[in-house]
Symmetry: C2
Subunit: 402 residues, 2 copies
């Protein structure tokens, strides 16, 4: 078995998790977020559509993985934990109106004498349902439950050098995939064919680095729909004199580098050029504010002040911490770049900055993913941070900015 | 706006949902499952990584969509419901430790005088977290909550002719994508490059039908890992004399046709040929048992008896209802083909039958998706239901079966 990280790195992640558990008075952490399960053990499979859990016991050296029988071999193959700590529940627990995997998990915890402890559960996590919590409480009447929703997520906030290296590879992959997809897009081409090209390049990757699947599929609104950032592609063809937004991410060993660009098919109107130039200037001003010691709110302020000069404002947050992820999101649900988030930037924090402006009938997205360095920032991609204009004779960046 | 279904079809779905609500004494249904939201309204966007809800009030003609501000335009564009019934919450509710979208939703329900009714919530549904339920209860102290986890899912069980037509298109897409991917795979090719080819073909679709994204990414275990059905691809190359399992689905307008095949690179060993022939015979015997009036357990029994003759048994269920879906699953969480499921088959029910056998060091998967017809079954794909043997001079089906 080849793990993506040295076993010492997993051990350190587990130690850091236990430190936080101790601070919060949690004796047993019930990890259900697939990204957190992967972070602590290496576990990597598309098995999170059934219930599974990684149990971290504060005074036990190794966590326990509990999942479906057909997934136990995969847990043995992709994690560093002992085979004895891989426990499987029978298939009749799957999608049943009678049985629930949390009954089984509770029973295991009672059997090993851990049924009466202080349990942290990820209350705000998609793969821990409302019913999961009810059934786990019922199965463990002597336990005391606490919310530990983002406990491991916060351990993930500052990346190791190896994690950064994986993100650099994801950056190389998405840079190339975006460039090739923009090359391919033209009026008359079907949107789904462009999405197919994008996917091909994201997964094929480079001769050195094979791509992993991004946690969000390519989003590709066009025309009026550029005001609707989370629409995917259709079977329709691209139209002349129409904008296209592509938001996607490169992914390498589950590490993401998201990236968005707006393409104008044909010369953009004056308004679009103007909005794009405001966004482009805002990006540069925000990037200049990045350094260790600055806060997320400082970055948001740099952006807000930059676009305010032109009469614009953005209601939604400017960005969020990103990195390791499983569907449905590549955000880490910890630090957000917004006015009330005073997280202090530290080297090897990584953010997707999405300085998009959406209006009633259109929108502009030009996003980038950066790492905080000792002195400033490193971008994971090199594709120009500009509106891309593509007409019959080729393409160029926003004429206003050049 | 072009909806994938006639507005009368959405109306009928809503009526059927209200009928079930009435039977169960539910006055307000809080729909958070993205597939159910789409089924009732057409709503289609990758926005389910933040909280959103469709509220069906039994004595109101139209449901209410509540979601994030940046997604409201998408809801207006992709659904048949009135713009006035699209309500947006501000961005500070997103991934916040303080604010929760369910606070907002509760407030809206109180404001419109619906705060004290009998509410059905999807307790066992990934996009309704344990915290969502806590916060909704807190926001609506006068409401009475009931579990309505699969209420809409069961309305989805029998497909309309238009839904079946979309599944036929998904079947054409996956048939072709599977064939081309198997053509492409050979020793020395990287797994991720094969996944890239598969993705390209699934999304590009055919000249007539553009592919949508499947709710599960391609799974592609090889060698020993064929005992681990939910592993995805790696950067490694395919090896000679080694099996490869591909499980994927064609998707058209969110309708899925899943399909799995096992490929032997080089002539398979005797054991693999033997197991494959047992599975192939089991498939045919199970298919013969499909007809309206038979039960899910009847199909499982046909399969079980067929493989028992050769000393095999399968611990996991034989299949499940499939069709409309969003990640992380293409199963509908209603009828399962297993011994304790006595669902009576009716025309236009659709199932993914996955008669896979997994052992300690290998596994065989040959799956198909079928519709129950008036007299028997219709398969959505035509690729042979056999072990595919690929050697240097070309490929063929399992020699034992032919």
């Amino acid at each position: 078995m080849v793990l993506p990280f040295d076993i010492m790195e997993y051990q350190k992640r587990l130690d850091n998790t236990k430190k936080r558990m101790e601070e919060e008075g949690i004796e047993i952490l019930c990890v259900t977020n697939p990204s957190n399960m992967n972070y602590l053990t290496g576990y990597d499979a598309w098995s999170f559509y059934v219930h599974q859990m990684l149990i971290v016991i504060i005074d036990e050296p190794q966590p326990i993985w509990i999942g479906r029988t057909m997934d136990a071999n995969g847990a043995k193959a992709t994690t560093w934990i002992y085979d004895d700590n891989i426990i499987a529940y029978p298939d009749y627990y799957v999608h049943s109106d009678i049985y629930h995997p949390m009954d089984f998990i509770g029973e295991i915890l009672r059997e090993i004498g851990q049924g009466n402890r202080r349990m942290g559960v990820e209350m705000e996590q998609f793969y821990f349902t409302a019913k999961s919590f009810q059934r786990l409480q019922r199965a463990l009447p002597d336990a005391f439950f606490m919310d530990a929703s983002n406990l491991v997520n916060y351990v993930r906030l500052i990346k190791s050098d190896q994690e950064i290296e994986y993100m650099r590879r994801a950056g190389i992959i998405v840079d190339q995939a975006m460039a090739r997809t923009i090359d391919y897009i033209q009026p008359g081409v079907r949107e789904n064919d462009a999405a197919a090209h994008l996917y091909y390049n994201l997964i094929s990757g480079t001769p050195e680095y094979g791509g992993d699947y991004p946690s969000i599929v390519p989003m590709m609104p066009t025309g009026d729909h550029t005001s609707m950032p989370h629409l995917t592609w259709t079977e329709q063809t691209f139209q002349e004199n129409s904008p296209v937004v592509i938001e996607t991410a490169g992914c390498y060993k589950r590490y993401h580098v998201p990236m968005a660009r707006t393409i104008s098919l044909g010369q953009p109107g004056e308004r679009m050029q103007y909005v794009a130039s405001v966004v482009q200037e805002g990006i540069q001003n925000t990037l200049q504010a990045i350094r260790p010691g600055a806060t997320c709110s400082d970055l948001e302020e740099a952006w807000r002040n930059s676009i305010k000069r032109y009469g614009f404002e953005k209601e939604s947050r400017l960005g969020y911490s990103t990195g390791l992820s499983y569907p449905p999101d590549w955000g880490e649900h910890t630090a957000s770049i917004r006015s009330d988030d005073h997280t202090v930037l530290q080297p090897n924090m990584t953010f997707h900055m999405i300085p998009a402006l959406w209006f009633e009938n259109d929108g502009i997205e030009i996003s980038t993913t950066f790492r905080v360095t000792e002195t400033g920032y490193e971008l994971f991609t090199s594709y120009p941070l500009e509106l891309i204009v593509k007409d019959n004779i080729g393409y160029s960046s926003n004429p206003i900015s050049s």
